[in-house]
């Protein structure tokens, strides 16, 4: 069950999206999300969806993988949908059951909100699926570079993020093992009240934390052995530089923003 979590999982590949500079992808993701909030009409939503599908097709990421990543978020989606559906009172009433009324405005809004969240999440998934976490942290480090002058520990932060991402699968595996070990000794995680189940988690968390600390200690020694001494004087194997594919992507992004703004102006 824990294996289902795909957040931050990278699908190695050679598509143009994979080859893009991580900074480009980060910037374009932010632009995409902002544009999503600018989009108001079905037409602009359709345009945004088209952009997303095109990117998915180019990246050759299987749709299945994206759907699988969506699973843990179904609850949030449903919740947003229901809230918008019943609490927006606009336009003609379509349905009235007891005290709950569904208006046309509410329905539109609910669908739009859900579509917006779906597209937002898919966009984020596309970033993490096509960018190795190291490239991602490199990109962030580079984009946040100017903050170094303000004594923000940019390198340290990106190193921490990189290691955290690296250890997610390892710790998941470990949790699975600890759970099996506790189950083998009669622990019960599936039945009982919510409080009982929360209590049952303690014997998992304690060994997990202890082992995480031990791992951290060993990793620190191993890093020291490999001459790690912070960001100063460090070089990179893969230098970041913008290539043609990045310029094309920026151009496409600009066209998308312009189109959405235009549609907004035209009131469509």
């Amino acid at each position: 069950m824990l294996k289902d979590i795909t957040l931050g999982q990278y699908f190695p590949g050679h598509s143009p999206i994979h080859r893009m500079d991580p900074r480009t992808k980060l910037i374009l993701l932010v632009v995409y999300i902002l544009t999503l909030f600018l989009a108001q009409s079905w037409l602009s939503y359709g345009l945004m969806l088209l952009v997303l599908i095109t990117v998915i097709c180019i990246s050759q990421i299987p749709f299945k993988a994206i759907l699988r990543g969506m699973k843990p978020l179904v609850m949030i989606l449903v919740f947003t949908g229901i809230l918008n559906l019943f609490f927006t009172k606009e336009g003609p009433t379509i349905l009235k059951i007891w005290k709950l009324t569904i208006t046309l405005g509410g329905l539109t809004r609910a669908v739009m909100m859900m579509a917006r969240i779906l597209m937002l999440i898919t966009g984020t998934f596309l970033l993490t699926y096509t960018t190795s976490p190291i490239a991602l942290t490199d990109g962030l480090e580079s984009l946040m570079g100017p903050l170094k002058k303000l004594h923000v520990p940019v390198h340290e932060l990106s190193m921490m993020m990189c290691i955290a991402l690296r250890f997610i699968p390892t710790l998941i595996e470990e949790t699975d093992k600890i759970m099996s070990a506790q189950k083998a000794r009669g622990a019960d995680f599936e039945t009982g009240s919510l409080i009982d189940r929360a209590k049952a988690l303690v014997p998992i968390l304690v060994p997990l934390f202890i082992s995480a600390f031990r791992r951290a200690d060993e990793l620190a020694t191993a890093m020291e052995c490999r001459c790690y001494q912070g960001g100063e004087g460090r070089t990179k194997m893969k230098l970041l530089h913008y290539r043609r594919v990045d310029f094309s992507a920026f151009a496409a992004g600009a066209v998308m923003v312009a189109a959405v703004l235009l549609l907004r102006q035209m009131g469509l």
Binding site: Y10, P12, S132, P133, I134, C162, I163, L165, R166, P169, T170, E173, R215, E218, L219, T221, A222, M223, E224, C225, R226, C227, Y228, Q229, G233, R234, T235, K236, M237, K238, L239
Partner: protein, 287 residues
């Protein structure tokens, strides 16, 4: 040949908590490792093998005596990085020494820390991965590899720093027989072909038997030191400190107790079988 590592009158005490007295590990330890050699360090748990290894690259500093690596005092703070660049260290658990999410990025970690120029890092990473036979996995995620493969990636991460010596602290302890064989073959090849000095800390007698020299540690002292044949034929000594000789030697030793007179330096099964056959033929002749 010159010594790449020399330990002179090393004393080390693990610091105790607050006022408690520390735990002494070494009092007067002496050892030298020749450049280009392949040395195994054997010993029971808690005999100080890992503590000794950590002195080889300034992770631990002696409380008394000196440790020299390539002639540099490991306690010299200014030259710590030179020491660490020359003596690479591989640990038991490959999961806890891999830093990055992609194999090649992890191998690049060491040279990146050393400030090597990018094209040169690329060359070293490719070369290191080819040397450990993991080149085709360069874009894989480390957690999807087998234990032996992960350990070879860890070794590649060390050799990409181009050290003169690699110290491996029980690198095969967590691996299955196949992973063990892969790792042993890799380090054997690095020693033979690249002339890298290898110090292998191990529990496995058969691994130690593949080395040129075996050093047995006991209670912070060198209990035996010599070729595998010399060390392993001292079966009583090994037993007295809680170790065992390789199975072939143990077999001959047991048979000698039954009245046979077999040599105790046959480490390979084939040699041992030959010795047994010879003994049987002789016994037949006598009868």
């Amino acid at each position: 040949m010159s010594n790449i590592i020399s330990v002179e009158h090393l004393a080390y005490t693990y610091p105790g908590l607050e006022d408690a007295p520390g735990i002494p590990v070494f009092e007067d330890m002496n050892l030298t490792v020749e450049e280009g050699s392949f040395v195994a360090i054997l010993g029971t748990n808690g005999c100080g093998k890992s503590t000794l290894a950590k002195h080889f690259n300034s992770i631990l500093l002696p409380s008394g005596g000196k440790v020299y690596v390539c002639g540099i005092d490991t306690a010299n703070e200014e030259r710590v990085m030179t020491v660490r660049r020359n003596v690479g260290m591989v640990f038991q658990n490959p999961d806890n020494q891999i830093v990055a999410n992609v194999v090649e990025e992890d191998v690049a970690f060491g040279p990146e820390n050393l400030g090597v120029a990018s094209p040169e890092i690329r060359r070293r990473v490719d070369q290191a991965l080819k040397q450990v036979d993991m080149y085709e996995y360069r874009e894989h995620a480390p957690h999807l590899l087998s234990g032996g493969q992960k350990q070879r990636v860890a070794i590649a991460g060390i050799i990409a720093m181009e050290p003169k010596c690699i110290v491996l602290d029980e690198p095969t302890a967590m691996l299955d027989p196949r992973g063990r064989r892969e790792v042993m073959q890799t380090i054997g090849r690095l020693n033979r072909e690249k002339g890298i000095t290898v110090v292998l800390i191990t529990h496995h007698m058969d691994e130690a038997a593949q080395c040129q020299r075996v050093v047995v540690l006991h209670q912070g002292k060198v209990a035996a030191d010599g070729t595998p044949q010399e060390v392993f034929s001292q079966v009583e000594l090994l037993h007295s400190i809680g170790l065992a000789a390789p199975e072939t030697v143990e077999l001959c030793w047991e048979l000698n107790h039954q009245g046979f007179q077999l040599p105790l330096d046959r480490l390979e099964p084939e040699d041992c079988a030959q010795a047994l056959l010879d003994a049987l033929n002789e016994a037949e002749k006598k009868a």
